[in-house]
């Protein structure tokens, strides 16, 4: 079968910096090409280049052909007709891809009317049809709704509806499910796959997630630093990865840190005991005469963490995990129930005792960019928690301690005088861990500590967590939406849904034999690289026969 869209030797440079080098790929009808790579590898730029939507100052060479037409020679007017009609795109963040002040129906109909030159009424009828194709039938009554009234998954379906409304021949999806919860991701991926098969579109799927690509794509191209290092049919390619980078990426995606050496004594006096905690927020009142409604972000939550234990807390966005983390950390008091750390309630003791408790509990946050004051050096940032120590350390002692922890997280003491912007995302997360370690705490609360990191960096940081656990004997409360991360690092796991704990147990047991229906749904929705590859191989073998 010949390609409907092909790129040959695409090179793009922006302000003299080479972004893409000799990128070539073909898209065929009814097939999905997966483009994988880490951030900065040039995958999004490849998509923009294919759409001829490159940022200002970009210089492009090479050839892009669509149905035999050379797009690099097409002028703006011609491209406008092709974009959206013949080639269209699905973006990562459904909320920003939709216009907040126009209804769903209007937004889908707009493209139809513009490209097909049909009447308002015809467009409206087709819109109903298009929404039905993406699984939003008239029973949802979405035509007159605004984007903010939709759930994240529905929004992404609308974005897909806009993209496929004119029955394009090529669909480019740039991280279409990265911003979505894992259960929603599974639905959207199935939808995209069905559409491609049914409507015989050619699709370019861009993702950082090898498992997603393995599940979806017929052929895969692996990108690094603007170059496609390896490509081929999915099953065959993953069986014989020849390029060292793709091997590294594959290993990192499957990476599990060294398991714990000594068992945890679960009967010991718990380090942290959370009993029946309630946390609620007032909702805005409809009028001053109605009673105020409360949103219960966390309710009836009880669990405990034993010394040296690492406990995972999983759940989808909005389930209350971060609210709970902030309450445990003492940043916001609970509205009911109690928290005991080292046998004391941090909200019931004197200020000085609270400081002592705080010494034993530190945190690592998600965002490696937002967790540092950009104006403070690493030394100043890392030494910050030393304020908690009432016995005043001398300047020298402080500096020594900072250097010590920097070295224990794999940085050098020379890094102490640098500023956060001089470090990469993974290094920053090491600095954040160093800051948490500086007071020698017995518990670290880690709220999505690896979610913003690329997969190879993620593997390194998980190794660091495991290493510190074994070396320093710390307990972790590890909060994440990513089951594979929690599976890799924790002994026990708690599953939360809508502010409540739905299941708790030893990690292996919960994941291999989930009891609660929600846990079962969650576990089955996670894309599994090895499982996907097994299926893919079977299919490729069948095709060959």
């Amino acid at each position: 079968m010949s390609a409907i869209f092909s790129a040959r030797d695409l090179c793009v440079s922006i302000n003299g910096k080479q972004i893409l080098r000799d990128v070539s790929f073909d898209l065929e009808r009814g097939k999905i090409l997966g483009l994988v790579g880490e951030s900065g590898s040039g995958k999004s730029m490849s998509a923009l280049s294919a759409m001829q939507l490159l940022p200002e100052g970009a210089i492009q060479t090479g050839e892009l052909s669509f149905e035999g037409k050379n797009l690099t020679c097409a002028n703006d007017t011609e491209m406008t007709h092709i974009r959206g009609k013949d080639i269209s795109m699905v973006f990562q963040e459904p909320m920003t891809a939709l216009n907040p002040i126009r209804t769903v129906g209007e937004q889908v109909a707009e493209g139809l009317r513009w490209h097909l030159r049909i009447s308002r009424k015809e467009a409206w009828e087709q819109t109903i049809d298009v929404l039905e194709r993406v699984g939003l039938g008239p029973e949802y009554g979405l035509m007159d709704r605004f984007p903010h009234q939709l759930s994240g998954g529905q929004r992404q379906r609308v974005v897909i509806a806009i993209a496929i409304a004119c029955q394009p021949k090529v669909l480019i999806a740039d991280e279409p499910t990265t911003a979505l919860d894992v259960t929603v991701q599974a639905q959207i991926l199935t939808l995209l796959k069905d559409i491609v098969k049914k409507e015989q579109m050619a699709m370019l799927l861009i993702s950082h997630d090898l498992a997603v690509v393995a599940e979806m794509a017929d052929t895969v191209a692996i990108m690094k630093d603007g170059v496609i290092v390896e490509d081929g049919p999915t099953g065959g390619l993953f069986d014989n990865l020849s390029h060292p980078y793709s091997q590294k990426l594959f290993e990192a995606s499957n990476h599990v840190p060294v398991p714990r050496q000594e068992p945890v004594d679960e009967r010991a006096q718990p380090l942290l005991k959370v009993s029946n905690v309630l946390r609620q927020y007032p909702l805005s009142r409809a009028s001053i005469f109605t009673r105020r409604q409360w949103h219960r972000a966390v309710q009836h939550v009880s669990f405990s963490v034993a010394p040296r234990q690492s406990l995972g807390l999983v759940g989808e966005s909005g389930c209350g995990k971060s609210t709970l983390a902030r309450t445990i950390l003492g940043l916001t008091p609970p509205d009911g129930g109690s928290i005991q750390f080292l046998g004391k309630d941090p909200f019931a003791v004197s200020r000085n005792d609270r400081r002592d408790l705080q010494l034993g509990m530190q945190a690592v946050f998600q965002d490696p960019y937002g967790s540092f004051d950009p104006r403070h050096t690493v030394e100043r940032t890392v030494s910050e928690p030393l304020h908690l120590m009432r016995s005043d350390l001398s300047r020298e002692q402080r500096r020594k301690r900072v250097h010590e922890v920097l070295e224990s997280v794999g940085l050098s003491s020379a890094d102490a005088n640098k500023y956060p912007h001089e470090f990469s995302g993974g290094q920053r997360q090491r600095i954040a861990i160093a800051r948490a370690l500086v007071t020698n705490p017995s518990l670290i609360v880690a709220d999505e500590p690896v979610s913003a990191l690329d997969v190879s960096i993620r593997a390194q940081i998980l190794d660091l967590f495991a290493d510190l656990r074994d070396r320093l004997g710390m307990a972790y409360l590890f909060i994440s939406h990513d089951l594979s991360v929690v599976q890799a690092i924790t002994d026990r796991v708690i599953v939360m849904n809508a502010g409540r704990i739905v299941e708790e147990g030893p990690t292996g047991e919960v994941f291999s034999n989930p009891k609660h229906p929600y846990t079962r749904l969650l576990v089955s929705a996670v894309p599994d690289l090895n499982e996907a590859l097994r299926k893919r191989r079977k299919k490729e073998n069948k095709d060959r026969q």
Binding site: E38, S39, G40, S44, Q92, E175, T178, A179, L180, D181, H208, S317, R326, L329, G330, L331, R355, Q358, Q362, A363, F365, Q366, D367, P368, Y369, G370, S371, F372, D373, P374, R375, T381, E384, P385, L386, H387, L388, Y419, P420, H421, E422, G425, A432, R435, S451, A452, D454, H481, D482
Partner: protein
């Protein structure tokens, strides 16, 4: 969520040389800085030296045209206009600096307090701000100076009061925008008090906003001082003031229009200068607007 974060702004560089280079490329910054510096130098020089004394009337020399002796000529009382303009620059700058300084010193702590405490205190501070904002500022300045008597000090106070809410709002807004950032949470976990966090983390991070606002407020204060003096409520003779010069030139406009034009241009240039300086600084310092510079 599991998002890569490639859309973050490039890491801010606080290295003095690169900012300076960018500054010299920004047209509004350069023009603004030159104009502002010019006014500043004229004002400072006038403290030590003016070509002629400004409080000596010499009727024999009145309404002289431009000459090598009197660069800009003399007014109807025989005073040298260049000397008057220089002394006027001094008055304008002193009034503006003190009034804006007063607004900053009172407004910024109030705004930060409102952001840190929230609740009732915040409501009180911000609603009082709204109340002051609701009055046309020049009109109320007229009210204040006419009650407490005309004079430079009362003009400073009247202008200063209207700078308080401006800075309170900017400070509160900046602090609230920072409040969700994880480094502030981390600082709280480090056991720092709200006061210490405000001083060490919040103020340095909103300093950009405050500097930009201050330079814009300076231009407005110069304008306000000129307005009050024009109405006879600001600076009193024998001190020189651009507004006062305009007022005195009013009766002579028909046959000596240059008397009104000189102080008029002085006001325009200085207001324009500080305004452009503020715009230029905003482009340079405010990360949200940074893209416009390059």
């Amino acid at each position: 969520m599991n998002q890569e974060l490639p859309s973050y702004p490039p890491p801010a560089k606080y290295d003095a040389i690169s900012i300076w280079r960018k500054a010299l490329r920004s047209r509004s910054f350069v023009i603004g800085a030159v104009l502002a510096l010019f006014v500043l130098i004229a004002g400072v020089t006038s403290i030590f030296w003016t070509p002629y004394a400004i409080d000596v009337l010499d009727v024999s020399q009145r309404l002289q045209p431009m000459s090598s002796q009197y660069w800009f000529g003399t007014d109807q009382y025989g005073r040298d206009i260049l000397s008057m303009l220089m002394a006027g620059a001094r008055t304008s700058i002193i009034v503006a600096l003190i009034a804006v300084g007063m607004g900053m010193l009172i407004g910024v702590p109030l705004g930060l307090l409102a952001a840190a405490q929230r609740g009732l205190l915040e409501e009180m501070v911000m609603r009082t701000n709204d109340l002051i904002f609701a009055f046309p500022s020049l009109l109320s300045a007229v009210l204040i100076t006419s009650i407490f008597g005309p004079g430079t000090i009362n003009a400073v106070i009247a202008i200063g009061i209207f700078n308080i809410p401006v800075f309170a709002r900017v400070a509160r807004g900046g602090a609230l925008a920072l409040s969700g950032r994880e480094f502030l949470l981390a600082a709280r976990l480090s056991g720092k008090s709200t006061f210490l966090i405000t001083v060490e983390h919040v103020i340095p991070n909103i300093a950009n906003l405050l500097i930009v606002q201050a330079s814009i407020q300076l231009s407005l204060a110069i304008l306000a001082e000129a307005g009050l003096s024009y109405l006879g409520l600001g600076t009193q003779p024998p001190m020189a003031s651009w507004g006062r010069m305009l007022y005195e030139a009013q009766t002579m406009v028909a046959f000596a229009p240059q008397l009104a034009l000189y102080p008029g241009f002085a006001i325009i240039f200085s207001v324009l200068g500080f305004n452009l300086l503020g715009d230029g600084l905003r482009d340079l310092l405010d990360p949200k607007m940074r893209r416009r510079v390059t």
